[in-house]
């Protein structure tokens, strides 16, 4: 196959360049992941990379200068002279660094370099962001405040409640339709299918205002049913098209022999087509599920600010707006929302990629 004639010398460079790219790609997620386990105060004080062993200046011996040292003149320390600015920034001498410890009291610290890690890791962020209860938080300056939990676990279940039916319903409806488009002949078949293809890339924004008006008059706003139906409609063109491509490729003999046995279309569909379509159903089902799981716009419009139905993406977006500096909450919340997609990605990669390829055109 491909790759028989790779050159030895070039390969090392290729591996190296690709390694660097992969490292850059991974770095942002890694930062989020590590930070989500760090205590709230630590996140704001030091960068997340400080959890790895690194060289750092640590406090050492204190030197006392004479109290009447003039800071505007060169300052003599251990036989060398330095300026005030140098000592403010720190000056390296041999293996140590001279820096003001207390400029007014005229004390200088001889800092020493050493390996250091800040491996303080905790699960607190996760329990705080998941629960809705109050908890105590130590701030960066050491003081303690009470904060209310984010209640993300509720949002997690809401998301699941929305995502599962919003996957099952369109996939089933679309499969029936795809079967009819592929194997039945009826007037209007072509027109209807052309409309479905046209709907593939349509931006859902064109539907939002009128649908919201209908929902308001039907009382569907902020209800599970409303959002299931919305996701069903917005997902249908793609799922139908995807299933049509699969079902229309099935061998014709299959149907003929079933027909001779006297089976009806309904029986053929449920006994023959559905079992045969499992790989396609899995691919497009995963795509639709992740689409709904990751969705923000549709929930934002049709759920609005009803906290009891809010999904995770809305909750996190709210957090970004209201608690933008509380990185202990943001990082863990974001990671919780990524758990499901990442699990599916790593466990069902084959179906996942196939579904994504077929579904990439979705509006």
């Amino acid at each position: 196959m491909a790759g028989k004639k790779k050159r030895k010398g070039g390969k090392t460079i290729v591996n190296l360049v690709l390694g660097v790219i992969c490292f850059i790609w991974l770095l942002p997620t890694l930062g989020l992941f590590i930070s989500s386990f760090r205590p709230a105060a630590d996140i704001l004080q030091t960068g997340w990379w400080k959890v790895f062993p690194h060289q750092e200046w640590t406090q050492g011996e204190t030197l006392q200068l004479s109290k009447d040292t003039d800071l505007r003149q060169p300052i003599e320390v251990n036989g060398q002279t330095y300026t005030d600015d140098q000592l403010k920034a720190g000056v390296e001498v041999d293996d140590s660094r001279l820096m003001w410890e207390n400029r007014r009291a005229r004390t200088i610290n001889m800092q020493e370099q050493g390996w250091k890690t800040t491996p303080d890791l905790t699960m607190d962020n996760y329990s705080n962001v998941l629960s809705g209860k109050e908890y105590k938080l130590t701030e960066a300056d050491g003081s303690e405040t009470m904060q209310k939990g984010t209640g993300l676990s509720q949002a997690f279940w809401n998301t699941l409640t929305i995502a599962v039916p919003a996957t099952v319903i369109p996939v089933l409806i679309a499969s029936f339709a795809a079967y009819a488009f592929a194997w039945l002949r009826f007037p209007g078949r072509k027109t209807l299918f052309v409309i479905i293809i046209a709907m593939l890339v349509i931006p859902i924004q064109v539907a939002l205002i009128p649908v919201l008006k209908d929902y308001t008059s039907l009382g569907l706003n902020g209800s599970y049913l409303g959002i299931w139906l919305a996701h069903t409609a917005f997902g249908l063109p793609l799922v139908t098209y995807f299933m049509y491509n699969f079902i229309s490729q099935l061998p014709k003999d299959l149907f003929e022999s079933a027909f001779i046995d006297g089976a009806s279309h309904f029986t053929i569909f449920s006994r023959l087509i559905l079992p045969l379509s499992v790989p396609a159903l899995a691919s497009i089902g995963i795509f639709q599920f992740l689409w709904v799981w990751n969705d923000y716009l549709v929930s934002l419009i049709f759920i609005g600010n009803q906290p009891s139905v809010q999904v995770m993406s809305m909750k996190i977006a709210d957090l970004v707006g209201s608690r933008g500096n509380d990185w202990h909450l943001l990082t863990s919340a974001a990671f919780i929302s990524m758990l499901m997609p990442l699990a599916i990605f790593f466990l069902l990669q084959k179906y996942f990629v196939r579904g994504l390829m077929g579904g990439s055109v979705k509006g």
Binding site: M1, K5, N15, L18, W25, P28, L32, I43, Q45, G47, W49, T161, P165, V168, L172, I173, F176, A177, A180, W183, L184, R185, F186, F193, I195, I196, I197, A198, L200, V201, I202, P203, Q205, V206, A207, I209, P210, G219, Y224, L225, A230, T232, F259, H265, Y296, L297, S313, I316, A317, V320, G324, L330, T331, A333, M338, L342, L356, M357, V361, G363
Partner: protein, 371 residues
């Protein structure tokens, strides 16, 4: 297969026309009515349901699978009470019915209604002709949104395609192709909101010496001044948002290019090498022409995707600091200013922007044989 059957049955004398029994009509009407009533009740139940969400979900899945399945089952059964020639005519509409009703109600008709609304004023009461469309180019906010969307489409798509191609080729020649592709592809799985948080953390700026945001830490390490990347620095802040899109979508381009590259026949490449062509020349002279159709597909897909970009901007800046795009402006006009005229117009502008892609899709479909 169906067509064959039709032929058979239209043979003169092959089949005596059966009469429609009254019983069948009553039965099917009853079943239709029962379906409407029962599902209407379920509709009301779910709408007003105050049950535990998880329980609601379980019931919904049951309804989604069993209920929807039962609709098809009972209606098909009813149709089977009729003679063959009627059954064959009605059955397809039962199969496509639910899909057509939902699509019509929630997608096709709304699109037409939005088009209609775009010719009316903010409260949809007064006909204003094309003045909403004119406003898009004169109103400062909306003009900015349009400019930014163009930036997103051009830079975002170009970068995704180039990086995707580069990484696909590197991965093809490396010794750890699978892992590398997984790493690059991974961001596609997560939501834009989560990606927004990830990158907000990378770009984070705080006054003082210690920077906890990766980018500012790197900048200060090399002696630069830390910056508030996404808010100040206009219009360059848009680029920092576009980087997020590149980070997420390059994986998509890469996976498709990777498959296409593997399809380039080995003997052509070998022949070129024997003739003394360098790797660069092979890349531009053989690879690129060979996968040009794939490049076109990937490019249009990413363009369509980028046109509708919303979540990233909403989470990162909320559209402030001149980072507004059409979709966020749509949301703002619609929800905050309650201006249905402008909102609808912006939605139609998005639609017009993807119109060429719709036409390409349709032509493609016809070329592939269509029906």
């Amino acid at each position: 297969m169906d067509a064959q059957m039709k032929q058979k049955s239209s043979d003169p004398g092959a089949q005596v026309k059966q009469t429609i029994s009254i019983k069948a009509v009553l039965l099917s009407l009853g079943i239709l009515l029962a379906n409407i009533v029962i599902n209407g009740l379920i509709f009301v139940f779910f709408r007003d349901s105050t049950l535990n969400p998880l329980l609601t979900a379980v019931l919904a899945v049951l309804w989604g699978v069993l209920g929807v399945y039962l609709i098809y089952y009972t209606l098909t059964w009813a149709v089977e009470q009729y003679p063959d020639h009627i059954r064959r005519k009605v059955l397809p509409y039962i199969f496509i019915g639910p899909a057509v009703i939902i699509l019509g109600w929630l997608l096709v008709l709304p699109a037409l209604r939005t088009l209609y609304l775009s010719f009316f004023n903010a409260s949809s009461e007064k006909f204003v002709g094309l003045s909403n469309y004119a406003a898009i180019f004169s109103d400062h906010l909306m003009a900015t949104a349009l400019r930014n969307n163009l930036l997103w489409v051009f830079i975002g798509t170009l970068a995704c395609v180039c990086f995707g191609l580069l990484i696909a080729i590197l991965a093809d020649r490396s010794s750890y192709e699978k892992i590398a592709k997984s790493i690059i592809f991974m961001p596609m799985a997560i939501s834009f909101v989560a990606a927004g948080v990830i990158w907000k953390f990378v770009y984070y700026y705080q006054p003082g010496d210690e920077q906890i945001g990766l980018l500012n830490a790197i900048v200060t390490y090399f002696g630069g001044e830390p910056q508030a990347w996404t808010s100040m620095l206009q219009p360059w802040n848009n680029f920092f948002l576009i980087i997020i899109l590149i980070w997420m979508q390059t994986g998509f381009a890469m996976v498709i290019f990777s498959a296409a590259i593997k399809g380039v026949p080995d003997d052509i490449l070998e022949a070129a090498r024997v003739d003394g062509a360098g790797e660069v020349k092979i890349f531009f002279g053989i690879m690129i022409p060979f996968i040009s159709a794939t490049i076109l597909t990937v490019t249009t897909t990413i363009i369509v995707f980028t046109l509708k970009i919303f979540d990233v901007v909403m989470v990162m800046t909320g559209g402030q600091y001149d980072t507004e795009v059409v979709a966020t402006q749509f949301y703002r006009q619609f929800f905050m200013y309650r201006n249905f005229g402008y909102g609808s117009t912006l939605a139609i502008v998005l639609l017009i922007a993807v119109l060429p892609v719709i036409l390409i899709n349709l032509r493609q479909f016809r070329k592939q044989g269509g029906f």
